[in-house]
Amino acid sequence: MPDDLSPVLKPVAEAQGLPNAHYTSDETFAAERDRILFDGWTALTFASDLQKPSDARPIDFLGMPLLVLRDQSDTIRVFQNTCRHRGMILVSEPRRIECAIRCPYHSWCYRLTGELVATPHVGGPGHNTHPAIDRNTLGLIEIRSHIWRDIVFVDIHGQAAPFEDHAAATIARWKEFEGQTLHPGGPESRFSFDVACNWKLAVENYCESYHLPWVHPGLNSYSRLEDHYNITARDHSGQGTQVYRQLIGDGGQRFPDFADLSDKWSEGAEYIALYPNLLLGVHRDQAFAIILEPRAKDRTIEHVALYYADAEVGTPAYETLRTRNAEMWHTVFAEDVFVVEGMQRGRHGIHFDGGRFSPVMDAPTHAFHAWVAGRMHDGDADGRA
């Protein structure tokens, strides 16, 4: 990684953006995997994708085979999806696992809690134990995980500060929503975009409001640029608006509100990126999360989930309003695709120097660049040396 990141760390008025290699180089992408995405709390998947006990989902995360499981006591765990015997992938498709995870190769079996419980014929045909094979030391490798706002986060290297410390500023910012149940909508409330861009470009675009009048003109009539404010903090950056308007359906139908919110949220809404790869939005009556799944230096899957304050919104009584809402968000997020893909192509301009930031409008984007630069430089953003 040849680049000097010190210009990124300067104050916003003087700073330059991350160098091109951070978007176009396989070597830098691999370094980011080790220093950022595997070294700290990263959003992996939605807990609501594992609805029932025994649900299991294998996930290939940046080449790392993971297995997310909900056990019979409703605890969600993440394991390395690799048998401790010969390294076989254990689970290849989402499915229910009733009692044991059986390796399809030699049938070593693990409990849903990870313990190795059977090693058939390991001591010869019909002999299922051997002194050299200590089952107590050969359970599945558990990956540190934490669930917050329906998101399963993982700390793959296992060295990060507790999640509550990592996301302390975000949790504090949205303390009025903390602990309130997020109810997923119906099938229309989950969609994704397969985008030809580096994952960071999706963060950069999301967390500033500067582009709204140009890229989202439909929002401009009620979500004017001057009604937005910048948000920057240690673990997140983004934008807020003071003119959120609820969707109103036939007969004046509205989504129910989250409980006990202050006046700030009557017409307020906030949209932040919780670093590194989670985009969040909150409103009085709905929320959303977008998990950015980096697939390559120039490919990202954006997994979108919309949530509501009341389980009743998931019923047919709200289907029309839910569908309108999902279509609205789908349209907004789709409008951003040409921008992030265009910035990806632009990053191949060999004379581009990372670009400059508007000192007024681009502070949230600069904050993210500086966070990335800090992590790539010395990995100290979570208090580690």
């Binding site: 009692c99 044991a100 059986r102 049938s107 014929h121 019909g126 299922n128």
Partner: protein, 79 residues
């Protein structure tokens, strides 16, 4: 030229069919039946088949797993 044919074995055929169908619960039952028809003296083969039955019962989450585990433990082949 004489041809040699194997004795028909419906249980073996059923095991192969259950493997082809990935029917783990059936495999647990069928391997247990195969074990139960063996002579007691053939302990290694008995334990091989009981192990097969036990593993598929674990995989399928059937109640048979507990009994099969007990049998293997009593034979010193499982802990």
């Amino acid at each position: 030229m004489a041809t040699q044919t194997a004795e028909p074995d419906p249980l073996n055929d059923a095991i192969l069919a259950a493997h082809a169908a990935s029917d783990k619960a059936a495999l647990a039952t069928l391997y247990r039946k195969a074990a139960d028809r063996l002579e007691p003296a053939d302990e290694d083969q008995l334990c091989f088949l009981l192990t097969q039955a036990y593993i598929f019962a674990l995989d399928a989450g059937t109640a048979e797993a507990e009994n099969l585990h007990r049998r293997l433990v009593s034979l010193g082949r499982e802990r």
